[in-house]
Amino acid sequence: MILQALKEYYDRKASDPESDIAPEGWEKKEIPFIIVLDHAGNLMQIEDTREGEGKKKRAKAFLVPQAEKKTSGIAANLLWENAGYVLGIATKGNNERAIKQKNAFIDRLTNELGDIKVVQAVIAFLTNVTEERLSQEECWQEISASNPNLSFRMSADSFLICRHPDVVSRLSSTSQSSNDISGTCLVTGKNARIKVLHTSIKGVYGAQTAGANIVSFNLDAFKSYGKEQGFNAPVGAEAEFSYTTAINTLLGRDSKQRLLIGDASTVFWSKKQSSFESEFSSFFEEPEKDNPDAGTQNVKALFESIHSGAYREDDGKTPFYILGLAPNAARIAVRFWQIGTIAEIAVRIHQYFKDFAIVKPPREPEYYSIWRILVNIATQDKSENIPPNLAGDFMRSILTGMPYPATLLQAVLRRIRSDTENRVKPVRAALIKAYLNRYYQFYPDQNQREVQMELDISQPSIGYQLGRLFATLEKIQEEANPGINATIRERFYGAACATPVTVFTNLLRLKNHHLAKLDNKGRVVNFERLLGEIIGNLKDFPAQLDLHEQGRFAIGYYHQRQDFFTSKGVAESDK
């Protein structure tokens, strides 16, 4: 299904004249330097195609014949290659190899395109050029140092020699070699030439830079029935080209249809052209620095679209695919794979934003990116500490509308315990709320009530009320001793939420001393009233709280604390 959907994407792009996806047998490649020749094969100049400043310099991408699958052996590409092959520069100090490489490059040209006039000029150039002549060029230093890709152009033409009409027509007529084994392609179901080695997939975060493979059988144990390489999974050459080109385009540097979720490079596409496809990433990504409202606007558009059933001008019934990839050495593993219609997925994302809605201070972003949520449950708030599988599971829950993974709640509670300074941040409170509400939606419980967006004084949960109590006690302490170094939050939060009975008696005793310190008697009365209200909801201090109650403790604490800040104006005016 995955390969088939990718092939569909390729076919859609290929039939669209506006798109710049490579045709069969070709690929897009960044070529920093172009050797410009005259008709006799004399070097005119070496053109630098790069644009930009300093390290951001990027070469222009050109359509070139598809690269050979490189191993440690020597395999030359047609009419483009790195400087080692084209000019025989010994890049790694291995002179012998460089000569072999250059010969291989020339041989391939002569054998396959030797009778074409423009190619003869190239061959003439390759055989006659001297290092002395080359070193007169401005960018020679850079070429010999960095071994960049090179290609050729005639000074009279505006296109590369590999795109010369004579060359193109020759390549399309000779692409089929007859001695390959054919079989039924598992993507198209047609009888086709079976591809033995599949093109590498580049751009998966964390994978080898040379690329990795989804379809590969690089060890003995992976083979079945004595079959070798690609014959274990018969994919036709055409289907193979389509799916690898599609995924490489989706994962490409300029692609707007990719997203990093945890460690999984995620790509997404719809069956037909859609604006959902191009804006999907903005729902989950951190907003851009120069346009922080763009994401928010897209989410708002999504919220409005729910009533009409479709996202903006899209057809809601169009299938939408989401594929999460993670590297495993030279191979790529599929972390998650989701199919749904645009309407279905839009509803689920909408639900996800609703789950996460919670009262929060004004400087907080309105919507959280996946990264921000995950980083706030990771040790030391660092991206690299995000548990690898959790990100994928979380994303899958969002997209399927199923309960969030239990490990998510465990992780956030653990993080709240260990982060003595911040404890319950808005994003963590939002996460717990989302988790609990979705959980009880699937496993209803008479004794539980939905967690609200803001303070809910009649919430029956004992954990919630204890959280409120703890926040109140902390506030009393803060006001009694302004600027204190370590409050009860730093010292007692963990124990208070896990084993309330051991701490609360002590804290309630201390509270009396703190209240005595307050000068403003009206404030004291207010606090006493609030404490009375909260304790009135409690029968007893339980010995332990389970994980869900600990979650509610965190939310109760957070809500109460937010309430202190937001209703301050009111509290002060009625004293």
Partner: protein
């Protein structure tokens, strides 16, 4: 010809797609060959060949992604030297050296109803009929009696029914991979109707089975266009086109 229905269920399942079999990704639903193997685990004889006609999906399709330690090498055959008992390299493989971490996208909490019947093969056509597991004959006599005179279709039908009802099997049936053992029971779909998942969509080309007929040592994979219609996949070879 009787068409039996087995209900099978398990915590996990992986009907591996050939193109993603290293870092495994499962098909959305059970493949016909996996269903066939379940029938065979209950009863298989050289005289019968199982055919699967329909696969019904009862539980919603759920996924789980798991990373596991596996071994990256096949156990080699002993060399002539080793067979002769000469001293030298030991035959075994050390899993610590051959350890591979592999990811898998498996199915979770599955429950299917599979329908199948068997063909009774006359003795002269039996050569190419193979079981999933290799045969081990107790002795020469048993091998020689491979084709028995008293065997009939009705006898094997009765045997299967008796065994399936009792929950007997020759080896533990499994859902795609040996490690995902499953439970089974023989059901009468007329008496015990069940609600299937509400899904109708194209599943793409799916592995139907391996064809050992042409070349025993290099079997050809067979594929068919799988459609899930109101929760059921039609896999009847007499009705769907099988390519290979």
């Amino acid at each position: 010809m009787h068409n039996w229905c087995l209900e099978v269920w398990g915590d996990y399942a992986c009907f591996t797609r050939p193109e993603m079999k290293v870092e495994r990704v499962s098909y959305d639903v059970m493949t016909p060959s996996a269903a066939r193997a379940i029938f065979e685990s209950i009863l298989w004889k050289p005289a019968i060949r199982w055919n699967v006609t329909k696969i019904e999906v009862i539980n919603p399709i759920k996924w789980i992604s798991v990373r596991r330690n596996e071994v990256g090498r096949k156990m080699p055959n002993p060399t002539a030297k080793q067979m002769a008992g000469a001293l030298g390299e030991p035959m075994g493989i050390f899993i610590e050296d051959e350890r591979q971490q592999r990811a898998g996208l498996f199915l979770r909490d599955v429950r299917y109803r599979i329908y199948g019947y068997f063909d009774f093969i006359p003795p002269d056509q039996r050569k190419a009929n193979h079981s999933v597991s290799p045969e081990f004959w107790a002795d020469e006599q048993e091998l020689a009696e491979k084709i028995r005179l008293d065997e009939t279709e009705a006898k094997y039908a009765a045997m299967f029914e008796r065994r399936a009802k009792k929950g007997q099997c020759f080896h533990r049936p499994y859902l795609g991979c040996r490690e995902f053992a499953c439970d089974f029971r023989l059901v009468d779909p007329q008496k015990e109707p069940v609600e299937l998942i509400e899904e109708t969509r194209d599943l793409g080309f799916m592995l139907y089975d391996m064809d050992f007929e042409k070349d025993e040592n290099d079997p050809i994979p067979l594929f068919f266009r799988a459609w899930i219609e109101n929760g059921a996949v039609n896999a009847d070879r007499r009705e769907v086109e099988v390519r290979g």
